[in-house]
Each structure stands twice: as structure tokens, then as C-alpha cells.
């Protein structure tokens, strides 16, 4: 039982903390600046902000440094930090039509009004390990930045586009959804408990904080056939949306307080046969998350759609299954908790097992007695 220190737990914890630090820095290389992580580990920062449920690129970068690059751990640190922050107020509804787009693609149409904007994507890059990056120095970066000009038809230039779903909607091809809810009745998952059946805003909020890999696994299970909704990617957008809050003293007016980078996916699915009430229409799955995280936005949109299946039996169609199991902080915490001592419960189980063995022994003896008698 050397595993459980009877005394000295505090010293053990502190020694472990020192060791963690030692393993991070023992290589002797220059310390990583948070700003470097924020700039050059952009997608990891975005992922941590999303799963941490806090739009704070700098804090996410520090969390990544602290977690030595483990995004689940970094998200956990960020969420714990979030618990200490008071709620100042609620923003007004942001219309993503106002997005300043850096990337926008549609798989539904060959050509869409506004055009396809590839933006910063690796989708068509050959995934060859670029060993030149190992030698990259600041002179090369400076030279590249001096040479590089965002192209006039894309890049960082702010512009907005008509939405693909609006075009389908105008033609009456898309099922109608509830009209825009009032801001003060949108439930807040972080302030109110998750109960079932969950409303669509709650589902979307929950998935926005879920772990990317967890959502992807569940969405992928649906794409392969467990509750397949045959999705088509109507539109995928990455860009900045403004955030506004109600004016404190002037009722009805709002104040813009900044902007956040988000990824938005809209998937178009076939009409479900069981849902046919009126004339057939497409149905929609929607996904939105903080930062640039396309896998997560698409997975969310697919799952948003699968969970609308009325009599779904597949995991991806079961809201309880999806929402309870995709949260990375919850799942990782519980998975790790098995490392805690369980010797009291084990002793209790041991007591039962010994009792069962005694009973089985008695039975056997009795059985033998009977045999002898026979």
C-alpha cells in the first residue's frame, strides 16, 4: 500500500508540481512567449477558446503553455478561470450575415453569388512534412511579410456575402424554423442546468463548448450510417462578427464592444420521410464555434441535424448521448479520476466477494454431502 501516503501528501504534491515544471524547461531552450503561441499556434488557441468557453486569445495561449500543448488540459484551465469571472451582461443577437469573411465555401453549388473564397486553408495543400520550417528564422518571416500583399479579391479585406441558405429559403426549398428568439429568453447553459429535452439553443451552446474530437467521432458515426442524414455542406464561413451589448442608459440602442472570430457551418440535409407533413423541403443543420475550427463547426452542424430526427435510435440522434459525452472537460476529468485511491470501495467489494465465495463453498460442501448420502 505504498501508493497511499499516510502523511506528507502536501510535500508530494509540491514535488510533483516542481517536476512538471522541470520536464517543461529542462531542454534549456528559450522560453515560449505567450504572444508567439497566440500568433503561431493559432488553431490550438482557437480550439482552447472554444472548448474553454471563453474568447480570450492571450489567456488561451498562456493556458496552452501551462498545459505543454495539451488542448484538453488547456481548455480545462481556461474554463476554471472563467468560473471566477462575474457575468457583466448579455450581448445582443449577432447576425452572422454581418460577418467579415476571411474564408467561405459552398459545396452545394458550383458557383455561388459572391464566389468561393478559399482563404487561409490547407485543404488543397499537399501534406508533405515541411522540414524547411525547422530552419525558419525571423529574417525569413520579415522577408515574407514584406513581399506578401493580401489579394484584392480576398484575404483580409472585409466583405460580406449573401448566404446560401437565404437563397434556398427564398425559393421555398428550406423548412421553416422558429423566428429569431428574443435575447432575454435565450437560455444560458452556463447559468442554467442542462435538462432534457434540451432546446436547440442549449444543444448548440453545449456543442460550442464540446471537445472537437468528441463531436467529430459522433458526427462521423452518423456520416457512416448510424443515423445518416446525408448532409451537403451548404456553406462554411470563417470570419469576424461584431459583438454588441445593450446601452446602459439609452434603452433600445446598443454599443459595439468588439469582434470575435467564428466558424459557421450550415449543412443541408434531405427531408426525413417521417417528417413529411407538407411539400418536401430541405432541412438544415447549424454549427457555430469560436475561432477557426472547421471540423468542429461541420460536426456541430451535422449533429444539430441528426438530433432533430424524431425517432432516432443511433447515438448521434440521441441528444442525451451527444451532449453528455462530447464535453472534453467532463469526459477527461472522469477518465482521469480512476487514478484516485478507491481502496475503501474496493474493501467493500472485497467483503462481498469473500462472502460470495463462502456461500459458494457452503453450497459445494452441501452438494458433496448429498452425493455421499446418495
Amino acid at each position: 500500500m505504498g501508493y497511499v501516503p499516510v502523511k506528507g501528501g502536501r510535500e508530494a504534491i509540491e514535488a510533483a508540481e516542481d517536476l512538471v515544471r522541470y520536464f517543461r524547461v529542462r531542454g534549456g531552450s528559450a522560453p515560449l512567449a505567450a504572444q508567439q503561441i497566440q500568433d503561431q499556434m493559432r488553431l490550438a488557441v482557437d480550439r482552447v477558446m472554444g472548448e474553454g468557453g471563453l474568447y480570450a486569445p492571450f489567456h488561451a495561449a498562456v493556458a496552452l503553455k501551462q498545459a505543454e500543448g495539451d488542448t484538453v488540459e488547456a481548455s480545462f484551465v481556461l474554463r476554471a478561470y472563467r468560473s471566477t469571472l462575474p457575468r457583466m451582461g448579455y450581448s445582443t443577437v449577432t447576425d452572422t450575415r454581418e460577418m467579415t469573411v476571411i474564408r467561405r465555401v459552398s459545396a452545394a453549388f458550383k458557383d455561388v453569388p459572391g464566389g468561393q473564397v478559399l482563404g487561409p486553408t490547407r485543404d488543397y495543400s499537399l501534406r508533405l512534412l515541411n522540414l524547411e520550417l525547422a530552419e525558419e528564422d525571423s529574417r525569413q518571416i520579415e522577408a515574407f511579410l514584406a513581399r506578401y500583399r493580401p489579394r484584392p479579391d480576398g484575404g483580409e479585406r472585409p466583405r460580406s456575402f449573401p448566404k446560401v441558405v437565404d437563397m434556398l429559403r427564398a425559393e421555398g426549398l428550406l423548412a421553416e424554423y422558429a423566428t429569431k428568439p428574443e435575447p432575454d429568453v435565450i437560455p444560458d447553459l452556463t447559468r442554467q442546468p442542462l435538462t432534457f429535452p434540451a432546446s436547440r439553443p442549449v444543444r448548440l451552446q453545449s456543442m460550442a463548448r464540446s471537445e472537437t474530437g468528441g463531436l467529430m467521432t459522433l458526427a462521423y458515426s452518423s456520416m457512416r450510417g448510424y443515423g445518416n442524414v446525408h448532409p451537403t455542406l451548404g456553406e462554411l464561413r470563417v470570419g469576424y462578427v461584431p459583438v454588441s451589448v445593450p446601452h446602459r442608459h439609452r434603452a433600445g440602442s446598443t454599443v459595439a464592444i468588439g469582434r470575435v472570430l467564428v466558424t459557421e457551418a450550415e449543412i443541408i440535409a434531405r427531408m426525413d420521410e417521417t417528417e413529411a407533413k407538407t411539400s418536401p423541403r430541405f432541412t438544415l443543420g447549424y454549427g457555430l464555434c469560436f475561432g477557426h475550427n472547421e471540423i468542429k463547426a461541420i460536426s456541430t452542424a451535422v449533429l444539430d441535424r441528426t438530433m432533430q430526427n424524431a425517432a432516432g435510435a443511433a447515438p448521434a440522434e440521441d441528444e442525451e448521448f451527444v451532449l453528455y459525452h462530447a464535453d472534453g472537460i467532463e469526459a477527461s476529468g472522469f477518465t482521469a479520476h480512476w487514478k484516485l485511491p478507491h481502496y475503501v470501495t474496493f474493501q467493500s467489494v472485497l467483503d462481498r466477494l469473500r462472502r460470495m465465495q463462502d456461500l459458494a463453498g457452503e453450497e459445494k460442501t452441501q452438494g458433496e454431502d448429498t452425493d455421499d448420502a446418495g
Binding site: 500500500m1 505504498g2 497511499v4 501516503p5 499516510v6 502523511k7 506528507g8 501528501g9 502536501r10 508530494a12 504534491i13 480545462f76 484551465v77 474554463r79 476554471a80 472563467r82 468560473s83 471566477t84 469571472l85 462575474p86 457575468r87 447553459l189 452556463t190 447559468r191 442554467q192 442546468p193 442542462l194 435538462t195 432534457f196 429535452p197 442525451e320 453528455y324 472537460i329 467532463e330 477527461s332 476529468g333 472522469f334 477518465t335 482521469a336 479520476h337 484516485l340 485511491p341 478507491h342 481502496y343 475503501v344 470501495t345 474493501q347 467493500s348 467489494v349 472485497l350 467483503d351 462481498r352 462472502r355 460470495m356 456461500l359 453450497e363
Partner: protein, 303 residues
């Protein structure tokens, strides 16, 4: 008074923001008003991982004030690393006094044990709960178990226990034994050993249960009926330590940990409740043998 030196600057008293505490406090009141019923709550992330006591800790943080004296135990011990860690967080965010003496504590946070020393009216015991739902053994869906509680339909759990007896001639549940609270709700008492279950029945203290990951709060108020599920011909039985005693304090009336000697492989037993054991040991060494004679009244276990 709180130790201001120990408090880490930059955080609110008791870590959580005040709105969060308010929400948890409102839920606690409802949990007390409907004994054994699981109240859903939003649950916040804490600087310790979910599954490591965040439910109990959120309750403690919503309850604790400068006048409290806090004790934290895990597996009955104040010194297991997880208990030390939680106590460290409490100290760094509140500066409140901590103790290992069960009798001196106003608030006790525990994982997997109820102290052997009987608790008093003014004390509150906060349990860390991994699985709040006692029906999860027979039904994985939250929607369905909630309906079963609503209708007080516990037949599937009774069948589960019955089948256990048919198969094994005994109920095989070790720790975390389901109980009926106030004659209405079947409740998971957290993974305490069966030994501790009788201590919940008509206890003088308030018992609060927090499941952070599963986002549930529930309660057993003082002087409330808590009955382990059992059959007339298959009575509920606590763990047997027949013929065994604590190697340190000689106790024959406490829950014992089984230890295996590193060298000889021999087994010996010591009290799981380390603070209780230390108190008895001191009493024995001060007053000689006989001082620690046990009437069996001081613990609910074995009753």
C-alpha cells in the same frame, strides 16, 4: 478568524463568483426541501478536474464563511493527496481554519466515508458524488430515470437486487448501496461503504451531496429516514470485520483498511478514519488500555 496570509490574491473569496454561489445556494435550499431528490444545477469548472470532487467542492465553496472550520477527507483520511489538494484550494481561496478533528469542524467535505465520530446538529457533511443516479445500474438514460423517480417506480431496481440474490444468494453491491430517503426517493449515498449507511438514518447533522460532472445537488436533512433497500429474508448487512481489529488503536468498531506488508505479505488492518484512530491512540497512550473500550455506540456501523 481566516488566515489572510494564506489567501492567493486576485480571486474572489471562495473562488466562485457571487452569482454562481447564489445559484448553488438556491439549489441547496430546494434539495433540502425535497430530501433525496436530485436537483439539477449549472455546475462550474473548478481548478480541480471533474470527477475529483468538483460537486462537493462547489457546495463547500457556496457554504463556507470566515467563521467556519473545515475538514477534508478522502477514503477516511485527511492526508491522502486528493484531500490535501482540496484543503489547499480552500485555504488559498478563503483562508478559513482547517482541522483534522471531526468534532472541531463545522463543515466536513468527504469522499467515500462518513467519519466514525457521531456528527452533531450544527455540523454539515458534504459528499463528493461521482454517480448521483441510483437507477443508472438499470437504466442509462437520464430522461427515463427521471420519469422513474417521478412515478416512484423503482421496480427495475428491486428486480435487479432480486436477481442478484437468485444468482449469488446475496446482494453483491459493495459500496454505494442504494437507499430510500424519507420513504419517497431512492438515492445514491455516494460510494461510501455499507458500514456508513446506518449513520445517515436520523442523523443529527445536515448531509449534502454534490455531483459536479453530472450537475446534481441533493440532500438528506437532519432527522430523516434513510433505509437501505433490502428484502425481509435478505437483510442489509454492513461489511464484516469479524475477529479483526485496528493494529494502531485496537478498535473493533470502525471500518478497517486492509494492508499488505511489503516484505512479508502478511495482512493487517488499521482504521480507515485516520483522525478517529489517532484520537483513540492518544487516549490509549495517555490513560492506558481500557480507556479505549468501545461500547459500539460511537459509530453507526455494525449497528
Amino acid at each position: 478568524m481566516p488566515d489572510k496570509q494564506a489567501v492567493r490574491p486576485g480571486y474572489n473569496f471562495a473562488f466562485l463568483d457571487e452569482q454562481t454561489k447564489k445559484e448553488i445556494r438556491r439549489r441547496i435550499l430546494k434539495a433540502v426541501a425535497v430530501p433525496g431528490y436530485q436537483v439539477p444545477f449549472a455546475s462550474r469548472e473548478l481548478p480541480i478536474a471533474q470527477g475529483w470532487g468538483t460537486g462537493g467542492l462547489q457546495l463547500t465553496l457556496a457554504l463556507v464563511g470566515p467563521g467556519d472550520v473545515v475538514k477534508v477527507i478522502d477514503q477516511g483520511s485527511d492526508d491522502v493527496v486528493n484531500a490535501v489538494n482540496i484543503r489547499r484550494l480552500l485555504l488559498q481561496t478563503t483562508g478559513v481554519k482547517t482541522t483534522e478533528d471531526t468534532g472541531a469542524a463545522t463543515l466536513i467535505q468527504t469522499r467515500h466515508r462518513i467519519p466514525e465520530e457521531r456528527l452533531r446538529e450544527e455540523q454539515a457533511l458534504v459528499f463528493q458524488v461521482p454517480y448521483p443516479e441510483p437507477l443508472r445500474r438499470v437504466e442509462p438514460s437520464e430522461v427515463k430515470t427521471r420519469e422513474m423517480h417521478a412515478e416512484a417506480d423503482y421496480s427495475r431496481l428491486w428486480v435487479f437486487l432480486y436477481e442478484d440474490i437468485v444468482r449469488w444468494r446475496e446482494i453483491t453491491i459493495g459500496a454505494q448501496y442504494p437507499v430510500l430517503v424519507n420513504g419517497r426517493y431512492v438515492m445514491d449515498p455516494s460510494p461510501i461503504p455499507r458500514w456508513d449507511i446506518p449513520k445517515l438514518h436520523m442523523a443529527a447533522n445536515l448531509n449534502l451531496f454534490g455531483a459536479g460532472r453530472e450537475k446534481r445537488i441533493y440532500a438528506v436533512p437532519p432527522y430523516t429516514r434513510v433505509e437501505p433497500l433490502a428484502f425481509e429474508d435478505h437483510q442489509f448487512r454492513v461489511e464484516s470485520f469479524d475477529g479483526k481489529h485496528c493494529a494502531v488503536c485496537g478498535s473493533t468498531a470502525s471500518f478497517l483498511d486492509e494492508l499488505i506488508d511489503d516484505h512479508t505479505g502478511a495482512r493487517r488492518h488499521t482504521c480507515s478514519d485516520v483522525a478517529y484512530c489517532a484520537k483513540r491512540h492518544q487516549l490509549l497512550s495517555e490513560n492506558g488500555p481500557g480507556a479505549g473500550r468501545q461500547t459500539g455506540n460511537e459509530t453507526g456501523g455494525g449497528a
